[in-house]
């Protein structure tokens, strides 16, 4: 679950909420600061952190944090 930890840290940094705890089930509806603008910043920070690039479709299809982490894990193992 290293990926989730790292993603959580990125969420805290970008959303400026040091107490934020996310789980695989978390969606944007659960986190007040997670709006469309911050979403873009999250994606960019995650891409930089894990040194990877998502396709337009991948970004579009995530339903929750879990799917985001799955996509990262898939890319890292590829």
């Amino acid at each position: 679950m290293d990926i989730l930890n790292d993603v959580n840290a990125i969420f805290r940094d970008v959303l400026e909420n040091d107490d934020l705890v996310i789980t695989p089930d978390t969606t944007s509806a659960d986190v007040e600061e997670w709006d469309s603008l911050n979403h873009i910043q999250l994606v960019v920070s995650i891409e930089k952190h894990f040194k990877l690039k998502f396709s337009a479709n991948e970004i579009r299809n995530w339903k929750n944090v879990g799917e985001m982490c799955d996509a990262i894990s898939l890319k890292l193992s590829a």
Binding site: D13, L37, I40, S45, A56, R60
Partner: protein, 574 residues
Amino acid sequence: MLIDFQTLKSQAKGIQKNNFKKAKIAILGNYTTQFLAKSIEYSGLKHSLEFEIYNAEYDQIESEIYDLNSGLYNFNADFVFITISSLKLQSKFYALSAEKKASFCRDYITDLTNLINVLNSRIKTKIIINNLEILNDQVFGNFYAKVDQSFVSNIYDLNAGLLQLARTFDNLYLFDLNGLIQYYGTRHIRDWSQYVNADLHYSLDFHAAISEKLVAFIGAFLGAIKKCVIVDLDNTMWGGIIGDDGLQGIQIGSLGIGKSYTELQKWIKQLKERGVIVAVCSKNTESIAKEPFEKHPEMVLKLDDIAVFIANWENKADNIRAIQQILNIGFDSMVFLDDNPAERAIIRQNLPAVCVPELPEDPALYLDYLKSLHLFETASFSTGDKDRTKQYQEEAQRQQLQFTVTNIEDYLKSLQMEIVIEPFDPMDIPRIAQLTQRSNQFNLRTIRYSEVEIRDMATDSSNYFTCSVKLKDKFGDYGLISVLILKRLNSESLFIDTWVMSCRVLKRGVENAVVNYCVALAKNNGFHQLVGEYISTAKNDLVREHYPSLGFADKEGFWHLDVQNFKPLIHYIN
């Protein structure tokens, strides 16, 4: 490479606003500008500027400007940044008929001219428009120039049209977006998947790059200008160590990697011609350090180009303090170039206001890196600027004379000063505007004026009296060194709206001569008193006691001088 949006954000979050200069910026874009707005705010804080931002709705440039009730007209912007994305323009262009495509540029410039005229008729502001990204859609390939309905052709024409607009409208400036895109490369400025998903026209990080450059430019209007570049010599201005390698051994010009240094010197020479002061600060024996300047045929910079030359074995922080004393400019207007990280660290620690670029290790990269920092943005240029170095050299001679004369009266008399005080001459307006923008220390109210505003006041003789002051002495011509704008308050009082003076002529008695002139002017026009005001800033402590020292009396925060009972002040200027 590309500055990071997230890093910029966290840098800005840690900054305490402390007496920052303020400005209001309206952003009108034909694309989503939320990130740009945030980024401009962050970059501002980094440069000690506090911006209030009005970010218009997406693609509402026309309605914001035409509609008198728009948010723009409620906002009172100091700057209006009109930002146009070529991607958006392209989709509008594609929807046009062949005939309309051919006249696209003409139509667009006509519309824009109209918009600017309307905006200017309603508010007084500075307008900044980006030049348009050269977006080659590859529809006509390299045949584009032959086809008036190719998008690329139109973009080039539009940029030429924008250039023309900037020459036509005094208050319109062109932001060099293309220069920035060229520097970072088209592949880094856009994230196509974010464009598809979120209609983000530029990558997140490129917004930060835009704001850094834009804020440097806006900062120049607000007086945040670098006036002086101080250079180290060994391995900064040439390769090798002059004391060890000798005249034949240092790398400059065709020898070794000399080209790196030659190119840098050429750039610095161009800056000097523009009016940036060049000073030397080197750990060397002075005579040896000067040798290349005097004798090396491939040196671009000559001793004539250097306003202050300090080469000794003292520590560089003290030497930079000495340079600051002679030039009499703020530390925050100085840039220090040194290849040695330890020297850079010493300056950063001792003189944190001095800008010390972290030069790359490879000298071949010095110039490219320096150009990326937008250090020498300026909001004005006058032809007198290039003489500034000569003036500082003359100043050094004056300082020597001062040592040989024992009392100040004799010294002032021996300078054989001549002064000319007159209403603003249209030829001088760029220099006058520049003085109001650049002067920080001898500036009583620190109101910055553009050339347009100065021109308006100069022609409004029923409300304003203007004075420009020029001084010369036996060592040379100072040129235009002081500016006063006097405003009619009522039939009795003449208010000193602006009084700025170049610090180079402090303690010469210029103020006394100016007050005598102003009193005569006030009397001749039937006024009873001159009224002055001192508005304190972080930098103008120098003139806190200015009005009382000239005989003005305190009245509820303003300084009054009765012109009827005034006894002319003593000075030694003819």
